[in-house]
Amino acid sequence: MTTTQPSGAELPLQQIDRVVIRFAGDSGDGMQITGNQFTLTSALVGNDLATLPDFPAEIRAPVGTRPGVSGFQIQFSSSDIHTPGDAPDVLIAMNPAALAVNIKDLKSGGTVVVNTGNFKDTDLKKAKCDTNPLEDGSLDGYRVIPIDINARVLEALADSELSTKDKARCKNFYTLGLMYWVYSRPLEPTMNWLADKFAKKPELVDANQTALQAGYNAGDIQELFQGQYSVPKTEELPAGEYRNIMGNQAVAMGLVAGAQLAHLKPVLGSYPITPASTILEELAAFKHYGVVTIQAEDEIAAICAAIGASFAGCLGITSTSGPGMALKGEAMGLAISTELPLVIVDIQRAGPSTGMPTKVEQSDLLMAVFGRNGDAPMPVIAISRPSDAFELTIEACRIAVQYMTPVILLSDNFIANGAEPWCLPDLSTFKDFPVTFTTEKEGHQTYQRNEIGSRPWVKPGTPGMEFRIGGLEKSTDGNISYDADNHQSMTEQRFQKVANVANSVPTPAIDGPDSGDLLVLGWGSTVGILTQGVIDARKDGANVSRIHLTHVWPLPNGLDEIFGRFKAILVPEMNMGQMTRLLRSELPSHNFISYPKVTGQPFLTTEIAGKIKDILKG
């Protein structure tokens, strides 16, 4: 550094359209907080954004090791974006392990900010680096910005009475401050958040705010970066009021809303499991909305308590992830057999068995649709993104109470912990679907069906309407029956009832020409990546259309006719081809091409665009 170079403040401000940043550090370094704060501030600036948190299952893996690396990627933009971005433009690496794990993803020529304070021999050893990547040439081709963040933070906090260890913990806010300067973000939202978060520990508010400001100032007064960038607010998003939303948050809110629209008390039975636990936590905080939460002793008890609540005339809900779904199977059958409404939320994660609890997969689809003993049909809905989770959760509640059936609501780890701006809906446009409990004995039978195949709901406590139900086969009057013809008929009735749900669901719209050589079909959290992948392929001349399913079982009406207008249907999904199997069995006359990915990471848009082009090339 020579004094003849300009200071940061004198560098030009360049306007750019979009940036992808990845914060990476040890799982104890506060990278998720850093990422979430950057997200919140970018949202308030008015950018469109999408995020991808990526953290280990271990709460604190051994410090400085590769398995302990926690990452948070955000793409923010002044235009409409659909994904958290394939490759980061900027990587912040807080230690050698974070650098080693993430450098391969960085865009060629991209910028890497390295905390050199954590590159001592012992640090390199923990990260299993034989040589120092800062010196061995492995960072050639990237723009490296070395800063001893550890030392800078201690200097900035010289006057603080905190212990050295506590001071060191402020380094993530120093880093955040630095990035705020580079991308011209205001400090106020994070300053306010800190004041609120540590309200009872003013010394921590002070230290973290000082570190944030110091990081910002460092950008301003030193010549670390080539310049400052501005990513203006987007004008491409629809007009309206926005907030930032994460998938699990939106599901929790949708459950409250769904119950209110059904005029029922929501009762959640749940057992903690990654990555679904935050739904239980969010709902536990919504008690003033009349929400009852029961943290059960296990997954089975959780769904059984929810079924008990539905039996008692409330909206029973249970939330879980794959291994919990497996445990709940028998109880789902009980809800199907007794025809009680129930919402089962499954935040999918990589399997089988415990699998990779914090990584994303869509591999519970066939279990959701078919995975129970006996012929046990159930509607399945798949959320696509944090911003459609609220409405699709309400939709699950509607189907559950109107059809007197359990409904599975599939989400996944990418949606659950990912964030994006949500254009807040006009609540007055939501139609309620109030439940009417049957109180008249005249002509009443427990399993008498209405025009959509649903049965009446009687609330225990109603005089003169006493009934007994259970998991044994029954006849229309509710009494146990092992009669052969009756079982055939009841099985068909339950099957037809679920099939009827398709009649209340719109045929999905086609993005692009309504006929052609290739249709890309997606479901769940791949929506953004498929949208962008298709846009990119079209830029290269591909004639390709796209369709996305939210109601995955029963399949919506009209698909057969749509598929018939395309030569091939490409089905990318984060499993070994489960939707493809479903489509091949239900609509066998079409040419489905499976594109599976099971790395625990979302597809890249380049992978999708590349696949489309390969297929069209023939």
Binding site: L40, E235, I294, A301, A305, E330, L472
Partner: protein, 334 residues
């Protein structure tokens, strides 16, 4: 409704139109009759009563009661009942289960409903055998039980249901027998009077697969000497002439004279004495204890859960959708 309440109820009012299909001579008939009679005698409102059961012979019980009923899945009745009672605390919830249902496949849920102390009544029919699956040994069968799945005798030590319940911090635990309708009725009354989970073990005869297994203790000729009834406020005495006493020493429960016998107090905060008495019959030449082992007051789960909801509403006001959605940091576009 009014009509039902003003009219004097009879057992018939609690009988459903379903034919009872237990084996002839099964102890379940006597229990069903005793429950129906108890409900009629106490003017129970059938519309406000829910019977929840798991799987097994005993769990067919709800179908024969003219109340609300839910025959659920194996072992899970406590979990379902937890949902029913928490969702609507006004309902009078009874749970019917067996030794396999409650102590094997559903042992976890039984422990947790007892710990949570919901205000429900649990009837555990203990016949020390799997009846519906045709006679395998159960978790309450004594060591050495020879059945089809244990041709050389069972190896695992049995659960004592009362010890299990007390270990799970049950606030009410009692034992009765299917052949004593009067004693059953007195235990039902004590259970109904108790606020919290009332756990009742009913020794019940399976005439097909474990016939008269309890004859060594409860059959008429030996009952006076081979059982002891724990009665609150009275001395722990047994024998035809009530001349044999029991008392707790540092070595456990021992025989003693009538004068020295313990005075039974199930309301003692400590479950120690109740626990010591609960496994009395596992010792040689000791009587089988019947009656109320424990009856203490504690916090009720569903009351706490619903009170928190009411408190939150009182403090924050009843939440409206708009406040839910239009919350946090927001911004406008356009």
């Amino acid at each position: 409704m009014t009509e039902t309440i003003t009219k004097k109820l009879t057992r018939k009012d609690f009988q459903s139109d379903q034919e009872v299909r237990w084996c002839p001579g099964c102890g379940d008939y006597a229990i069903l009759a005793a429950v129906q009679k108890y409900m009629a005698d106490t003017g129970t409102d059938p519309a406000n009563t829910v019977f929840v059961s798991g799987i097994g012979c005993s769990s067919r019980f709800p179908y024969y009661m003219n109340t609300y009923g839910f025959h659920t899945i194996h072992g899970r009745a406590p979990a379902v009942a937890t949902g029913v009672k928490t969702a609507n605390p006004e309902l009078d919830v009874w749970l019917v289960t067996g030794d396999g249902d409650a102590l094997s496949i559903g042992g976890n849920h039984l422990a947790h409903i007892l710990r949570r102390n919901l205000n429900v009544n649990i009837l555990l029919f203990n016949n020390e055998i799997y009846g519906l699956t045709k006679g395998q040994y159960s978790p309450t069968s004594p060591v050495g039980t020879r059945k089809k799945s244990t041709p050389m005798g069972s190896i695992d030590r049995p659960f004592n249901p009362i010890s299990f319940a007390l270990g799970a911090n049950a606030t009410f635990a009692a034992r009765t027998i299917d052949i004593d309708a009067k004693h059953m009725a007195s235990i039902f009354a004590a259970a109904a009077a108790h606020k919290g989970t009332s756990f009742i073990e009913i020794m019940q005869n399976c005439v097909i697969f474990n016939k008269d297994f309890y004859n060594d203790t409860v059959s008429k000729p030996v009952r006076a000497d081979m059982t002891v009834t724990l009665t609150p406020g009275e001395k722990v005495l047994y024998g035809k002439d009530k001349d044999k006493g029991l008392k707790i020493t540092k070595d456990g429960v021992v025989k003693c004279s009538a004068e020295e016998a313990d005075v039974w107090d199930p309301t003692n905060e400590s479950a120690g004495a109740a626990f010591a008495y609960s496994y009395l019959d596992s010792q040689p030449d000791m009587p089988q204890p019947l009656g109320v082992f424990r009856a203490v007051e504690s916090t009720i789960y569903e009351e706490g859960v619903n009170a928190q909801v009411e408190d939150a509403i009182a403090k924050k006001g009843a939440g409206e959708l708009k406040d839910l959605v239009y919350a946090g940091e927001r911004w406008k576009i356009g």
